[in-house]
């Protein structure tokens, strides 16, 4: 894949963060809205990043050609609950049943460049309240590798899935870069998502 840089899908009203804007300025990211993510736009980029406010009705039209782009080497960081079959293997989201505090304890089940070296407990709570990181999982397609497990049942809130020459990193919770805010991890997590989706490092 000769394409370079990632598409940062802007779904929310808020301006993209300083980290994203810096990546745009450096030519490593392009900000598009859902309707602008065409086969041509994807082919011109090697990565795709979507947030929790993704319009899944609009994104559903990607389903016809997203898979081929992934198999050709594209990488997608997807945040949130997949409810529409944009990737049919990974939807719909499965919520945890009546989770308690113990169900939000995180276990790193596999190393991944996006989370490498970040202690799971730094991502677990915000001002003492847990549950923001995730409360369930998007179904793991065959061949996917669980990265972060929640609670004693190791609910795979984060997983990575190799698709041909490409890969999908699924984080089934609030935007990953919103985790660890107390510890100032937001910019680092944003930068890592952009780097990984942009082709840096191994798929896992």
């Amino acid at each position: 894949m000769k394409a370079a840089g990632v598409i940062w899908v802007r779904s929310a009203f808020a301006e993209p963060s300083e980290t994203v804007r810096a990546a745009v300025d450096e030519g490593r990211a392009t900000i598009l809205v859902e309707a602008e993510v065409s086969p041509e736009a994807l082919r011109a980029h090697c990565g795709l990043i979507t947030g929790t406010q993704l319009d899944q009705d609009r994104a559903l039209v990607w389903a016809g050609w997203l898979r081929a782009w992934l198999e050709a080497g594209g990488r997608w960081v997807v945040n949130g609950h997949l409810l529409r079959p944009i990737l049919p293997e990974a939807a719909p989201f499965v919520p945890m049943e009546r989770p308690g505090r113990a169900d939000f304890v995180q276990t790193r089940l596999a190393e991944h460049p996006i989370l490498a070296g970040i202690a799971p407990e730094l991502l677990e709570a915000n001002r003492g309240v847990a549950g923001f990181y995730g409360r369930g999982h998007n179904p793991m397609p065959p061949g996917a590798v669980a990265v972060t497990g929640l609670g004693p049942r190791r609910v795979p809130v984060d997983w990575v899935w190799p698709v041909g020459a490409g890969a999908v990193f699924s984080h089934a919770g609030n935007d990953l870069w919103g985790a660890g805010r107390e510890h100032g991890l937001g910019p680092e997590l944003t930068a890592r998502c952009i780097a990984w989706a942009g082709g840096e490092g191994a798929w896992r």
Partner: protein, 215 residues
């Protein structure tokens, strides 16, 4: 006479508007961009769920205003910057304290201010309490429905600014219900959505698309 929900296609809109855990009271679900070309009756009510991306509503603000000017009803939930796309909305955000309940016996102080209003049927203090995002300065003549601990409006009905009716709140139940987070928001929707339907499109037949739905 219809109750129309505006979906931005986010997972929490899909879960709230289509999922089995909340009353499905809608006659139609449309994306914001469909509003300008939609055939709306003045008796129709438009429900805009919380955390709708504001830029998509700003783009259709003239259609919302036209509906209000014809006597229509618009319901705007929180965290969508309704001050940018509805007339006369004056909003003051506040830092959100989502850990207030960690202290034993804590009370956020949110209260139903108009318990006799049909929109508040079945709602008590517990069902309107999860956290706050800000308050409004409603125009003279508006009816405050829910107040915070400082007696400031967090939900009100404005039938004076336009010929229509606006229900405006800073509460964001759809996001949390749709995220399977904060059970009070599910209780809120279980009471508010049927109350909204009864009030906004009173006399209308139940929607035929989801006849089985009740919280």
């Amino acid at each position: 006479m219809a109750l129309i929900a505006i979906s931005s296609g986010t997972y929490y809109h899909i879960e709230t508007l289509e999922g089995a855990r909340a009353p499905r009271v809608w006659d139609a679900v449309l994306p914001p961009e469909a509003l300008p070309d939609a055939t709306l009756d003045p008796a129709d009510a438009i429900f805009i769920p919380c955390r709708s991306p504001a830029q998509r509503l700003v783009a259709v603000a003239p259609a919302l205003r036209a509906h209000l000017d014809r006597g229509g009803t618009v319901v705007a939930m929180g965290e969508s910057r309704s001050d940018l796309w509805l007339p006369g909305v004056v909003f003051t955000p506040c830092p959100t304290n989502w850990w207030w309940w960690l202290e034993p016996g804590a009370d956020l102080g949110v209260r139903v201010a108009a318990p006799a209003h049909p929109l508040m049927a079945g709602l008590d203090a517990a069902a309107v309490t999860w956290h706050l995002h800000g308050h409004f300065d409603p125009p003279a003549g508006a009816e405050v429905l829910i107040r915070d601990a400082d007696d400031l409006a967090v939900a009100y009905l404005d039938a004076v600014t336009t010929p229509g009716r606006m229900v405006v709140t800073s509460l964001d139940p759809c996001y949390h219900h749709g995220s399977h987070f904060m059970p009070a928001t599910t209780r809120f929707l279980a009471a508010f959505l049927p109350a909204l339907r009864n009030w906004a499109v009173e006399g209308a037949p139940a929607p035929t698309t989801c006849p089985d739905a009740q919280g």
